[in-house]
C-alpha cells in the first residue's frame, strides 16, 4: 500500500541477484551449442557437411564435462556454492550427475551420427534436442529451488518427447512419442501440483540454505499446522519423479517408449534422463526434507521393492531385446532406489547411500549407452531387427561386437570385475549399513533373476545355431568408438573401482 503512496520507493533500483557466470559455463556451453546448431544449420543453404552436427554436439558435451571438472576442483578448494540467488548450486552431487549426463550426451552423439545417416534422416534438430535435454538434466541435478527443478524437468522432457518421435519414417516412433508425451504431461502435472502444495505448507520453494524448505521443516512450528498438505505435496513430488526414473508402478510407459523410440534416443533416455531424475530426487526430497523422512521413506522402500521385483521378472518373459532392456532399466532404477533408501537414513550411512547412488548412476549411464549402441547396430537399416532372433549367430558374424555386448550384459547382471558389480555391491552394502536388510536381500534376489535375461541374449549370440536373416551388421567408426569407450570404462572401473568410489564419496560429503 505505501509503495503506491511514496513515488520515491518505486524508482528504487531492483537488487538483482549475483549471477556468477563462471559457474554457469557448463549450462551456457550446451545452450550456446544448441542455438548455434539450430540457427546455423537453418541459415546455411544446403546444411552442414556430414558429421559436423555430431562433432559440434560431442565437442559441447566434452567442453561441458571438462568445465564441470574445473568447477569440481574449485569446490575442493573453496567448498560448494550457490548461484543466481540460490536458485542453482555447484556441489558434489550436482557436478557428479552433471558429468554423467555429459558422458551420456557424448556417447549418444557418436552413435546418433551413424544412425541418422544409415536411416537417411540426418538433420540438426535431433542434436539440438539432445543438447537441450542435457541442459535440462544439468539444471535438474543442480537446482536448489522446486520451480527451477520443474523448469529443468520440462526442458528435458519436452526435448525427449520430440526425440522419441524423431524417426519420421517409423510409425512405432510416432506412437512412442505420443505415448511418452501424454503420460509425461500427466507426471509433470503431478509434480507441479506437489510443488504447489509444498509451497502452501512451507511458504517457500527453495530447497536448502537460509529460508528454505529444509529450515522450515527443522523449525516445525509453521509446518505442523500444514502437515497434511506437506505430506500430500511430497507424495505428488515422488509420483512425478518416480515416473521419470521409471519406478514401478509408474513404469508402464517405459517398455513401449523404449521399444518405439529410435535406438540411440532410447540409450540417451535410459542414461541421461534417469541420471537427471535421480539427481533431482536426491536433491528435492532426500536431502531437503530429512525431518519428514518417516513419512516418505516407507514410500521409497515400497517403490524400490516393487521396481526390483517387477522389473526383473517381467524382463525375463520378453522376446524383443529393446523391451528386455527397458525392463532391465526399470530393475536398475530399483537398485538405485535401494541406494536412495539408504541415503534417506541420514548421517554417515546416509552419505554412503548418496555415494552409492552417484556411483551407480554414472556407471549405469555408460553401460546402458554402450548396450543400446550395440542394439542400434544390430537393428540394421530400418531399426526394426530387435527380436532375440536378430542376435543369433552374432558371435560368429561379428565376434568383437558380440564380445562387447557380452561385457555390457555381464556388467548389467553384476558379474565381478565389471563396473556393474561394483555398483550393485556398493548399493547393497549401503543398504546393509543402514540396517535395511530386507531390501538388500530382495535386491540380491532380483539380481539373480535379472541375470537370466542377460545370459539369454548371450546364449543367443554365441551358442545358438543358424544365422540371423537380413543384412550383415556393419560397424561404423563413431558407434565403434562409443562402444569402445564404454567397454573400456566398464572394465577399468571393474578392475580398479577405488578411484571412482573415492570420487563418489567425496561428492556425497561435499554438499551445499
Amino acid at each position: 500500500m505505501h509503495l503506491l503512496l511514496s513515488p520515491m520507493q518505486q524508482t528504487d533500483k531492483l537488487i538483482s541477484p549475483s549471477v556468477n557466470w563462471g559457474s554457469l559455463t557448463p549450462l551456457l556451453v550446451l545452450l550456446g551449442a544448441g542455438l548455434v546448431l539450430l540457427v546455423g544449420a537453418a541459415l546455411s543453404a544446403r546444411g552442414w557437411a556430414k558429421g559436423l552436427y555430431a562433432t559440434l554436439t560431442a565437442a559441447a558435451a566434452v567442453a561441458a564435462g571438462v568445465l564441470q571438472f574445473v568447477l569440481w576442483n574449485s569446490t575442493v578448494h573453496h567448498g560448494p556454492k550457490s548461484l543466481v540467488g540460490e536458485a542453482l548450486v555447484v556441489d558434489g552431487p550436482s557436478l557428479f550427475i552433471g558429468i554423467s549426463i555429459c558422458a551420456a550426451l557424448l556417447l549418444a552423439a557418436l552413435v546418433t551420427d551413424d544412425y541418422l545417416r544409415r536411416e537417411d534422416i540426418d538433420s540438426p534438430e535431433v542434436y539440438g534436442l539432445y543438447l537441450m535435454a542435457a541442459l535440462g538434466g544439468l539444471v535438474m541435478a543442480a537446482s536448489n529451488d522446486l520451480i527451477v527443478l520443474f523448469l529443468g524437468l520440462e526442458v528435458l522432457s519436452i526435448a525427449l518427447y520430440v526425440l522419441a518421435a524423431s524417426h519420421r519414417k517409423r510409425i512405432e516412433s510416432q506412437e512412442a512419442g505420443l505415448k511418452y508425451f501424454i503420460l509425461g504431461g500427466f507426471s509433470s502435472a503431478f509434480f507441479l501440483y506437489g510443488v504447489a502444495l509444498v509451497y502452501g505448507a512451507t511458504g517457500t520453494t527453495r530447497l536448502r540454505g537460509p529460508e528454505s524448505i529444509k529450515t522450515a521443516l527443522a523449525l516445525t512450528v509453521e509446518t505442523d499446522k500444514h502437515r497434511a498438505l506437506l505430506v500430500v505435496g511430497v507424495a505428488l513430488l515422488l509420483v512425478g519423479l518416480a515416473f521419470k526414473v521409471a519406478a514401478v508402478p509408474f513404469h508402464s510407459w517405459t517398455p513401449d517408449v523404449y521399444q518405439g523410440a529410435p535406438t540411440p534416443v532410447t540409450g540417451f533416455m535410459a542414461s541421461a534422463a534417469k541420471a537427471a531424475a535421480f539427481g533431482a530426487l536426491l536433491r528435492s526430497v532426500v536431502l531437503s526434507m530429512p525431518e519428514l523422512r518417516d513419512d516418505w521413506r516407507p514410500a521409497i522402500w515400497v517403490l524400490a521393492i516393487l521396481t526390483l521385483v517387477i522389473g526383473s521378472t517381467l524382463a525375463v518373459v520378453q522376446t524383443n531385446v529393446k523391451r528386455m532392456l527397458a525392463y532391465s532399466s526399470i530393475s536398475h532404477a530399483g537398485f538405485i532406489l535401494v541406494g536412495i533408501e539408504a541415503a534417506a537414513h541420514g548421517g554417515e550411512s546416509g552419505d554412503r547411500g548418496i555415494a552409492s547412488v552417484l556411483f551407480y548412476v554414472l556407471t549405469y549411464a555408460v553401460l546402458v549407452s554402450g548396450t543400446f549402441a550395440v542394439s542400434t547396430l544390430v537393428g540394421r537399416s530400418g531399426d526394426g531387427a530387435h527380436g532375440l532372433d536378430s542376435y543369433r549367430g552374432l558371435g560368429r558374424q561379428r565376434p568383437v561386437l558380440a564380445l562387447a555386448l557380452a561385457v555390457f550384459l555381464l556388467a548389467q547382471a553384476g558379474v565381478p570385475l565389471t563396473s556393474g558389480f561394483v555398483a550393485k555391491f556398493s548399493v547393497i552394502t549401503a543398504a546393509a549399513d543402514a540396517s535395511s536388510y530386507a531390501i538388500a536381500i530382495i535386491a540380491m534376489l532380483a539380481a539373480v533373476i535379472g541375470a537370466f535375461l542377460y545370459l539369454r541374449i548371450i546364449v543367443s549370440m554365441f551358442l545358438e545355431d543358424g544365422d540371423a536373416e537380413g543384412e550383415r551388421v556393419s560397424i561404423p567408426f563413431g558407434t565403434g568408438a562409443a562402444i569402445g569407450i564404454s567397454v573400456a570404462f566398464t572394465l577399468v572401473v571393474g578392475f580398479f573401482p577405488g578411484w571412482l568410489l573415492e570420487l563418489a564419496r567425496d561428492a556425497a560429503t561435499r554438499l551445499y
Binding site: Q10, L35, V39, K225, H226
Partner: protein, 125 residues
C-alpha cells in the same frame, strides 16, 4: 492440526454437496422425462439439426496443418508480449540489468523466428 485439517475439508464439503445436488437434479429431470415421454425414433430425428441444414461428411474432418503452425507462432509472440509488458512498466527499477536480460530474451525468441523463416514456415503454401 486436526481442527485445521477438518476446517479445510469442511470448505470442500460445500463443493461436494453442491456437486451431488446438481447431478441428482439433472439426473432426476432427465430420467423423469425419459420415463414419461413417448419414444418413436426416426433417422431424421436423430440427425444433428432436425430442422436445419443436413450435415455433410463426417465429424473427423482434417483441418489445415498450416493453421497449427500459425497458432504456434502466435503463442510464441503472445508469451513474449506477456513478459515484455510488466517489464516495460517497471523498466526504471530494473535499470541496465533488466535491459540486457530482456535483450537476451528477445534475441533468443528472434532466433526461433529466424529458424521458422528458414524452414519456410512463414510462406503460405
Amino acid at each position: 492440526m486436526p481442527t485445521d485439517f477438518s476446517s479445510f475439508l469442511r470448505g470442500w464439503l460445500t463443493v461436494a454437496i453442491f456437486g451431488t445436488l446438481g447431478l441428482l437434479l439433472a439426473g432426476l429431470l432427465l430420467g423423469l422425462s425419459a420415463l414419461v415421454r413417448p419414444k418413436r425414433p426416426t433417422v431424421e430425428k436423430s440427425m444433428a439439426y432436425e430442422s436445419g441444414v443436413d450435415p455433410v461428411g463426417d465429424g473427423w474432418s482434417q483441418s489445415q496443418i498450416r493453421y497449427y503452425i500459425f497458432a504456434l507462432l502466435f503463442v510464441m509472440f503472445d508469451v513474449e508480449a506477456v513478459f515484455i509488458f510488466p517489464w516495460a512498466t517497471q523498466l526504471e527499477r530494473y535499470a541496465g540489468f533488466g535491459l540486457v536480460e530482456m535483450g537476451v530474451f528477445v534475441f533468443v525468441l528472434l532466433l526461433g523466428l529466424v529458424y521458422a523463416w528458414r524452414k519456410g514456415v512463414l510462406r503460405w503454401v
